[in-house]
Subunit: 250 residues, 4 copies
């Protein structure tokens, strides 16, 4: 059984460092690279793609809302057309860096509030899916199984990769709880939780409820305290549980 | 004899209108579309590509310095890598809009101070050329015959289109005089000047000197007072002088 | 009876012109000057303050959401502290231009979605009011009579000026209908409507209902088609109805 | 003998942390607070002013070029008016935060390339000085003794504080060598160097030459590796050499 490990990468900006992508890259199989709207800049994008290429990691675009100060986590009331446009723009920019480095763009994963909006609001979901399809219908779309975007993607015959979140909480309805700051957890706890999600399709929600969950890619954070320790623990636990860490083949 | 008519388009931003691209597009054969750094935004880019497609006009990327307030006309001391990166980013973004609309990106033309820097400084010229080549070596590069970028482009086997400026001045050395605001001129004067540049390869410099000049694409402005009248006069005069208005075929 | 005429000014940005503040300024008594977040830039701010000083017009700060592309009209989910901070920042910046020109800052009027949020959400209203009070408790606050911000302002002993909108619609509940683009109306219609609001305290809502309305400052737009004609008609009609056009004295 | 210790503070932006101002503030007597153009944002500004107030540290504005990605270190070709305008804007914004916190703004220190341009180019120096004077002629201006800005400031009767750089190099002409990244040095070396600059008015330039230098405020960095250790060593060494650490009184 193949399981993908993805992480948001390329979130530094100018002199501002976030995470250590150079060192972290080798631990994952797919990198979601910020595209300059909520994080990242053109130089960071080039370098991040370079790390991915060096480490044999697939690169995807990680487009977000145009709000660097809010890191794309402050919801903005964009029109449907504006959502389509910011996705085409950002994915196109990253695709160019991937191709300039001799790689093929592998996937698209919306970031932060855009991710949340696309899971909750049908017309936003459709705008994101149309943008991905219009750029390249073979691109994978990274989403959660739960949420309206799954149906929108299926209607457009997009190939979906379903995410499981290693170190974020789910509410009782299976919705992700996105906060501005991530909480630290022990690596062993996270690893156990991930294996259970992958192997049993179950996880404990923030209110203590047991919920069903489904996915073939585990999202790990690269910028939390102990991120390296966590990803190593997750990786080892998954391999011991019989999984092979690999990105879905293009 | 084929001659291309190009214009900078897509320079509106949000609520801010600049020029009237919808109406102007039909007068030209190649559109240089701003990419969101010095002008334009992702929604303007989509609309501008749509006008070009409708009117059978080729679209190129018009990347500029990251300075919306200065409209890309305030020189900034970027590193060579930063220049490469901002060109890849912006060209990639526009390429995605072109391809999403079923078109192929046709060319790249640096904007404003980036254009000037690339004509004067060899390492900047090389960075721009490398960016274009790394994205797609078949893209045309719009430049002036005079300037270091021509040589850099030739070394990388890029296909160059040489520009003649309909309504900007040249100094005695053949360098373009870029100002923040364009001066108005009569349409007939501009048209006569253009035909002379195209047919005789000569133009009068700002100091009165006669200089030689060479090119196969005439750049007209779309946002000057009387822009429509000027482009119509230029087009008619060129056709009467036996030229066919056409973009270089990909 | 004194009535104030206010308009949003200084909304140009870099090369992008919006309105003609130089010519329009003389028609009003109070100018709400954009502060560089949703519109305006530092150079536009200085020039706009200069026009106001020349024409004896009071200057106020017109802070907005940090979204130039959306012109501050796309709601953003800012925290209460972030709202306080962007108001202090922008008002402080404009206050410096006013004082550098030998004027005193007269008022603060939130712009666009920030204006709407401050009228609907109590904690946003309080954040805006605290920011104004902490900068200078003598500053006038321009708001609508209807909305939670009025109560918040009273609790902090802020001096309120209540706005009437010359050329925007009200719904049956007396809430302003803010759109991205203003509709053109005849100057005479607008003038009649304004005099009726000022003199009778009544206006026809967008659904045809007659509603009560109260205010001592009429907001006119400077960038709509026929803006000059409208402001002149409004001014003349008000004077003929016995009003004196004047800004509230500091 | 009083000597001032100043540091650039408030350089974080949104989610991006730079330095640890909360912990560092107590070590200095004057804080130069970034104003949102090259670094900092309105929320960071409020918090930084709060730390300064808590620790009895004077706050000054640290305006920079409008280039967050380049951290204000990429020279931009602004007009003289644009320089004046960006200084008024940024200083005004910080002044509002200081006054909202019950403090008085103490000084202005241009940042990065703006600092360099103001020391080299007379018309830029004059624009900066005019901006400071027009906001409040009692504000201190932090500059280097060497450079054209000193003369410009004297002509406008501005009060200057002359800086000595603890951990940056000087060339043989006494000009500061500004780089994108600071080099680490041992705390003891830096402390010795500072005491020698303060007490003997001499320092070794980057080419080994001994040069004269003059100043009454030592600039320390808050974001270099070992910054706390360095500032503590500098402070202790200065006190042992008979100096009292204090900001110039307003």
């Amino acid at each position: 059984m193949n399981i993908d490990l993805n992480a948001d990468m390329g979130e530094s900006f100018g002199m501002y460092a976030m995470g250590n992508d150079d060192a972290f890259m080798k631990h994952i199989s797919s990198a979601n690279v910020a595209c300059g709207f909520h994080a990242g800049d053109s130089s960071v994008m080039r370098k991040t793609v370079g790390y991915a290429r060096r480490d044999g990691v697939q690169v995807g675009a990680h487009p977000g809302l145009p709000d660097l100060q809010g890191f794309g986590r402050r919801e903005m009331n964009l029109t449907v057309d504006e959502v389509y446009d910011i996705v085409v723009y950002q994915v196109g920019a990253l695709k160019a860096f991937a191709e300039a480095a001799g790689m093929k763009l592998h996937h698209v994963k919306p970031h932060g509030s855009l991710y949340g909006m696309a899971h909750r609001r049908e017309e936003i979901a459709q705008a994101v899916c149309r943008a991905v399809r219009d750029i390249d219908p073979r691109l994978f779309l990274y989403i959660m199984k739960k949420g309206v975007i799954g149906e929108a993607a299926q209607k457009m015959d997009l190939r979906c990769v379903y995410e499981l979140y290693a170190d974020l909480g789910y509410d009782a309805q299976g919705n992700l709880v996105i906060t501005r700051h991530h909480e630290a957890q022990t690596a062993a706890d996270v690893a156990r939780r991930v294996v259970r999600m992958v192997r049993e399709g179950r996880v404990r929600a923030t209110d203590g409820t047991e919920i069903g969950i489904e996915g073939n890619s585990v999202c790990v954070h690269s910028d939390t305290p102990g991120a390296v320790e966590i990803v190593q623990a997750v990786r080892q636990a998954l391999e011991e549980a019989g999984c092979q860490i690999a990105s879905p083949p293009l």
